[in-house]
Subunit: 386 residues, 2 copies
């Protein structure tokens, strides 16, 4: 049981954005400044970032309009701008979509080929420009990991990859920058954080006791604070806990010696690729059905433990009953406390592409997660979500 733990991203947590200029100037004088829509202008963050960067003598080249579920077209444009302007560092300000896109721009800047090949053909990523991030949404964990997911709407593909070289050099995590996140985005982001942990937590492999406990703590943190942040958007304690839990859910620490294929994310990526729905919402709809589908003699103890240690349910002595209760507690949280839409039907999605999406989710093979899932299994799980 071997693993490598490599967490090189320097995190500035709290009100430390004033150090942004100093951090950027470590890498050079020209930054590609990547962001999404107008929200950072409305909030004043745009002015703070540009002021701090220019105050440190950094020349900024702006690329705005990065989409939720970021598109390969944006990545291509960013990589081209890096080459044209001799960019030294990519500065990503926003949520996971902006950060993910920025990472592939940073890698694309170093190659002569279409950056989509990083995703579609797993083309080698041997070099990348340094990436510095300012996070405005607790959800994907992109601020501390080497991952990124890019959508190609032409091919109906949403593909991701994890590489240490794509980990940001530094990330600024100020919980106050997430006060303006809407209740819906807070809920969807929280469902995303939970899913990252659950993809690792639900396993039939023996685990390190310590990491199980840490995963349970992270899940309890999300369950405790997501509803608080939805009701009181400027609750610093809630936003801080969500933000830090989000980073640790996916930076590689909890995976430890127990890597396994993720199950729910590949299914959700098909939903987003076909219907462009919010990632966390898709995960929320899928997860309880996936757990239900995974129930068997081997998985029941783990599902029951989840109910006991994460939701504080008293064990009944009957694993079947305890698993029922655990899955119900999770559904109640996602669709009750977080108020997320509970079915694909509720989003106007029908079964017409399920067979095709299922094939793509398992890449024509079998995903070896909590239970092995072939295309037929995934199709059944999609059906359960209708």
């Amino acid at each position: 049981m071997e693993f490598v733990c490599n967490l090189p991203t320097k995190i500035y947590f709290g009100d430390q954005l004033v150090l942004l200029g100093k951090e950027l100037e470590k890498y050079g004088k020209k930054a590609l400044f990547v962001y999404g829509g107008g929200s950072i202008k409305a909030s004043g963050l745009y002015d703070r970032v540009t002021g701090l960067a220019r105050g440190a003598g950094i020349e900024l080249f702006e690329l705005s309009g990065i989409e939720p579920n970021p598109r390969i077209e944006s990545v291509r444009l960013g990589a081209k701008m890096c080459k044209e302007h001799g960019i030294d560092v990519v500065l990503a300000v926003g949520g996971g979509s902006v950060l993910d896109a920025a990472k592939y721009m940073a890698a694309g800047a170093k190659v002569g080929f279409d950056p989509w090949l990083f995703l579609s053909e797993h083309a080698p990523i041997e070099e990348a420009l340094p990436v510095v991030t300012v996070l405005t949404l607790a959800a994907t964990g992109s601020e501390m990991d080497g991952g990124g997911v890019i959508t190609n709407l032409q091919t109906h593909e949403k593909l991701g990859r994890m590489e240490d070289i794509l980990r940001p050099k530094a990330s600024f995590l100020d919980p106050a920058l997430t006060f303006s996140v809407s209740a819906f985005q807070t809920a969807a982001g929280s469902a995303d954080i939970l899913s990252h942990i659950m993809e690792t937590y639900f396993t039939t492999e023996p685990d390190l006791y310590m990491l199980d406990g840490i995963m349970e703590t992270l899940m309890k943190t999300v369950i405790k604070y997501a509803p608080v942040a939805m009701k009181k958007p400027d609750d610093y304690e809630a936003r801080a806990n969500l933000m830090w839990a989000s980073s640790w859910a996916i930076n590689g620490f909890i995976t430890g010696a127990k890597p396994q294929a993720w199950s729910v994310h590949p299914m959700e990526h098909e939903l987003s690729a076909f219907y462009d729905i919010t990632h966390g919402l898709g995960l929320a709809i899928l997860t309880p059905r996936w757990l239900e589908y995974c129930r068997n003699e081997k998985t029941l103890p783990r599902i029951s433990r989840f109910g006991e240690n994460v939701f504080g349910l008293a064990p009944s002595g009957d694993l079947e009953k305890d698993a029922d209760a655990a899955i119900k507690a999770l559904s109640d949280f996602l669709f009750g406390d977080l108020g997320l839409t509970s079915t694909l039907g509720g989003l106007g999605i029908g079964r017409e592409h399920f067979a095709q999406m299922a094939q793509k989710a398992v890449k024509g093979g079998v995903v070896e997660g909590f239970i092995p899932l072939a295309a037929a299994d995934v199709e059944k799980i999609f059906e359960m979500c209708l």
Copy 2:
């Protein structure tokens, strides 16, 4: 509430020592190979390390005989060897003492003055040679932090310091290398790990919920597995959990936004400096008395919570009673399950230096920890340990 999280050490966990040569050659061709006594020769580790390093074309310069409670004389010698031989990287193989000494050798190699000034005068550490470690004892966490404690027996001083620049570049953590650790050293190391967490956990500041839960998980991990490893030294699961918990107890992650002065370590450093006792044993003797001394209206809730969440004690509704039970559970663990000597008297230590040690522990001032401790307080705590 701001903090910086910076964890640059790359960890190779499990049976991956075969990558040692590849890691060393990143930094150059000449390594100072620092280790303690003959135990790594007896275990075969010496031969593996030298074979792997030489196989990668690394020239090794050996410095053995690093003491438990490592001495400044060893550090001076190592720094001198680094300069004389043009060393590129310091390779430390052993427990925390060897690693601590190696860090100050790496820093001493870059300056013209006596490295003791790093400790006694807080002389600036602006540069250091890269340090790579192979850990053989789970205790101090030196493999992933920037700390190190050095003893000067001439001045009766045992002083430490934390600097990011002293964090190892890479550490090899193979739990199997700790199979040969004796029951006593396993117990003392486990007391050290627990103490690192407790120094942070016991606070009257409000905390991040997430980090509290993670600290409780780390403490539960030590409490569960230390007795297992003592009874069955080659229990991989137990050794792996202790080893990984040890690194995370002190790498800075759990401190988060809540830095406070440590209380028990400065007291223990005086014990070790005066009597050269095993660090973890000194911590074990001091900790329950320190908690007892800290009891007041403000601290009782935290002590009670510790009993409930770490030892699984049922709350009685009476905080005084719950704190009693928590401190008793800790004592039972340290002196019962771990079998450590419970008093200073049991080690042949009397009160003759208490006043002087107490003055030195608080540096003539007040340590602001769980409760503020002046010299008179520390002296009383020493008395409680007799």
